[in-house]
């Protein structure tokens, strides 16, 4: 009885005499710590090997230190120049440029900044190249006047537009790559659209989104009946048919893409079959590859399992007696389906659609192999800028835009479905 009176007076104590509340809190804290300790190695690994590289890429899309690093004196001297005056910069600026160019040419770096500025104002690269060639012999003490010297090397050095470009892109951070990625540029009065013939990226982004939508749509159409059949067949036959869905899912992407490449060729199996049946004359074989059609067919095939699986798992949980109840209450087949069954499958359609759409807009391999020039996606342009044109800033900016689209969808997927509920086969 003395115990009971003790608890009434003071706080409840644990076995070791500490207050129970504190003891429980400590236990909970220890549990949390243990969980975090288990997760920490992987989290660290992912942060270093995956998140950091992506962060680095995102920084690259605004990074513009190159102009400041290679032309430090020019950037300072040019700061006071008024680009709207219509007059060329003063002799001091040209002198600074001469000094910068001599140093840059010695380090063979003058072409880098020329290439960088050429993205913004075509033609600048050659002016830098020509000036760099002479710059090695510049006599900074006795040479000059530098304005005339530069104008003699290349007329471009007398173009206020060139100087405006250097001035605009002298800060260490730029929005230029992003503006470029949405077909804009920095004009005299701030951001403006590029001329019509130079606009490519918005059209490409629209095409990527539109084709991904088409692919998602055709996946819904093809997956719905199959998922319904799988969900309503007896367990044994459903499992057998499930293998037909899972096999493509497990087969190498390259195998499936090469299969489509082989099937869709002009001398391929499908065209041969059509000619043999007589639907298509031999001299007018269908062009069904290296265009949008090829990309859509191949990608629908590749992404179809990602639509069937979530639909199937939702349809499995729908009680068939709802349909029977609707029919016994007088609904026609169509009404029973549309008003009773279909609304219950919407979560599955949503989950599958977001997943397929996310995967589709980032695709690179399949469009590159069967898309030709008209069926490529924004990913292909990113790859082009990384490995061929070497405009890494623009590649990073395009990547950042694509990443934002994907992350918004990912967030929506997490809200609607929950990432814990992703199922793999």
């Amino acid at each position: 009885m003395s115990d009971a009176s003790a608890t009434q007076n003071g706080p409840v104590l644990a076995a070791d005499g500490t207050p129970l509340k504190r003891s429980l809190a400590r236990a909970l804290r220890r549990q949390k710590m243990r969980a975090l300790m288990l997760i920490a190695p992987l989290l660290l690994f992912i942060l270093v090997s995956f998140i950091l590289p992506i962060g680095d890429m995102l920084y690259r899309s605004v990074d513009n230190k190159i102009v400041q690093n290679i032309l430090p004196r020019t950037v300072v001297a040019l700061a006071d120049w008024d680009s709207t005056s219509g007059e060329l910069p003063s002799e001091a600026v040209y002198t600074a440029l001469a000094a910068d160019m001599k140093e840059a040419a010695a380090a063979k770096e003058h072409t880098k900044v020329g290439v960088r500025l050429n993205y913004e104002k075509p033609g600048v690269a050659s002016a830098f190249r020509k000036a760099g060639r002479r710059a090695k012999k510049f006599d900074l003490e006795a040479g000059g006047p530098w304005k005339e010297a530069f104008l003699k090397i290349d007329k471009k050095w007398g173009d206020t537009e060139v100087w405006r470009t250097i001035q605009t892109y002298s800060p260490p951070v730029t929005a230029g790559y992003f503006l470029n990625a949405v077909d804009m540029r920095v004009g005299v009065d701030g951001a403006e659209m590029r001329p019509e013939r130079e606009r490519i990226y918005m059209a490409l982004l629209k095409r990527t989104l539109w084709m991904s939508l088409l692919i998602t749509g055709s996946c819904i159409l093809l997956a719905y009946p199959v998922a319904w059949l799988l969900a309503n067949l007896p367990m044994r036959s459903a499992n057998m048919l499930m293998i037909l869905v899972l096999l493509p899912f497990w087969t190498s992407l390259l195998v499936r893409t090469s299969a489509w490449k082989i099937l869709l060729q002009q001398q391929g199996v499908i065209n041969d079959l059509l000619v043999w049946v007589g639907l298509v004359p031999d001299d007018a074989r269908l062009q069904i590859i290296n265009n949008q059609f090829g990309t859509i067919v191949a990608m629908t095939h590749i992404l179809l399992p990602f639509m069937i699986l979530p639909m199937y798992s939702v349809m499995q949980t729908i009680n068939p007696s709802y349909l029977r109840a609707a029919k016994s209450l007088g609904a026609t087949n169509w009404t029973a389906f549309w008003r009773v069954y279909f609304p219950q499958t919407v979560p599955g359609i949503g989950a599958g659609s977001i997943l397929v759409f996310i995967l589709a807009i980032g695709y690179y391999i399949t469009p590159a192999l069967v898309g030709g020039t008209k069926g490529t996606f924004i990913s292909n342009q990113i790859a082009f800028h990384i490995s061929t044109s070497l405009n890494w800033g623009l590649a990073a900016a395009l990547g950042a835009i694509l990443l934002v689209v994907v992350l918004v969808l990912y967030w929506a997927y997490d809200k609607i479905v929950g990432i814990d509920n992703v199922k793999l086969g």
């Binding site: 909970l28 549990q31 949390k32 969980a35 300790m37 288990l38 997760i39 190695p41 992987l42 989290l43 690994f45 992912i46 090997s49 995956f50 590289p53 992506i54 680095d56 890429m57 009946p225 059949l229 067949l233 367990m235 037909l244 869905v245 899972l246 096999l247 493509p248 497990w250 087969t251 190498s252 992407l253 390259l254 195998v255 499936r256 090469s258 299969a259 489509w260 082989i262 060729q265 391929g268 199996v269 095939h301 399992p305 087949n333 807009i361 980032g362 695709y363 690179y364 391999i365 990113i382 490995s387 990073a396 990547g399 694509l402 990443l403 994907v406 990912y410 997490d414 990432i419 086969g425």
Partner: protein, 283 residues
């Protein structure tokens, strides 16, 4: 859902039309993969069925594309690289991933949702973006063009699959078993290896197989992060398809399909075993 005897003609027609429709969709799913297999035995360098093949004439078939695959040093080097890269990447993702999945399935995990979102992100972020980021970053830290650079990149890509499959297995895990083990004097490490591991092993293995196939099939990241010395099988296929398409690709594709069938069968068996172990399905 067989057809009841009292079904009307309309219902009958609809029933069979629907079946045919589904059959066509299944055909669409399987045919492109199935067609590669007979074509790989073509005696000619064509990508279509020759008249001899259609007549089932033995002269129309040969193993020459397979001989080419096994005899060509380029393909053999690519195969060797794939076999060297994928298992190591799998071991890294499985060991770290299993540990983290166990941590994530504890009852109290701070910021669980956010951590989960980060760990799953390599599966969601478009490969070209991962590849670009890794290309820039790994060349900064000297990993670009090295074996370990490719292995680390592939390990990161495989992790979401391990996390997903192992956490799914742990959902049905009875935590009183570990408490009972501790109660009888087992330390946490013994408890883990003797009690928890055998029960979640099917999930761990199928997660590992997913991670393996991810690395084995991966092509975008390896193109950017790797150098010619790390050229893998899919990379070789990709260049082959892009430049001059050679029928050897058909033989490689067939071999890869056989590997996928083996992996799929293993995963399915493991899944059923796991469900039986946890009493989720009667079979």
């Amino acid at each position: 859902m067989s057809l009841p005897t009292y079904a009307t003609t309309g219902q009958r027609i609809w029933y069979y039309t629907f079946r045919v429709l589904c059959g066509l969709i299944f055909f669409f799913l399987i045919a492109p993969i199935a067609v590669v297999i007979p074509l790989s035995f073509n005696a000619q360098d064509f990508f279509t069925f020759t008249p001899e093949m259609l007549r089932l004439d033995p002269d129309g078939f040969s193993l020459k594309h397979y001989r080419d695959f096994f005899g060509n040093p380029d393909w053999q080097q690519a195969l060797g690289n794939s076999v060297k890269i994928a298992p190591v990447a799998t071991i890294i993702s499985v060991s770290l991933g299993t540990l983290a999945a166990i941590g994530l399935s504890q009852p109290h995990v701070p910021a669980r949702r956010a951590i989960m979102a980060i760990l799953i992100s390599p599966m969601i972020v478009p490969l070209i973006i991962s590849a670009a980021g890794m290309y820039f970053f790994y060349s900064k830290i000297g990993l670009s063009g090295t074996y370990w650079g490719v292995v680390l990149a592939h390990a990161a890509l495989g992790i979401p699959f391990v996390i997903i499959t192992v956490t799914a297995t742990l959902v049905g895990f009875d935590h009183s078993l570990t408490r009972a083990a501790a109660n009888m004097g087992a330390d946490p490490v013994t408890t883990f290896f003797k009690v928890q591991m055998p029960l979640i092993l099917p999930g761990v293995i199928s997660g590992g197989l997913f991670a393996f196939i991810t690395s084995f099939d991966e092509v975008v990241v390896v193109i950017f992060v790797g150098s010619a010395k790390q050229q893998t099988l899919p990379w070789q296929m990709f260049t082959g398809l892009r430049e001059q398409i050679s029928p050897t690709i058909l033989a490689v594709a067939t071999i890869l399909v056989v590997i996928s069938i083996a992996l799929l069968a293993t995963v399915e068996l493991l899944r059923r075993r796991s469900e039986r172990l946890r009493g989720m399905s009667p079979g």
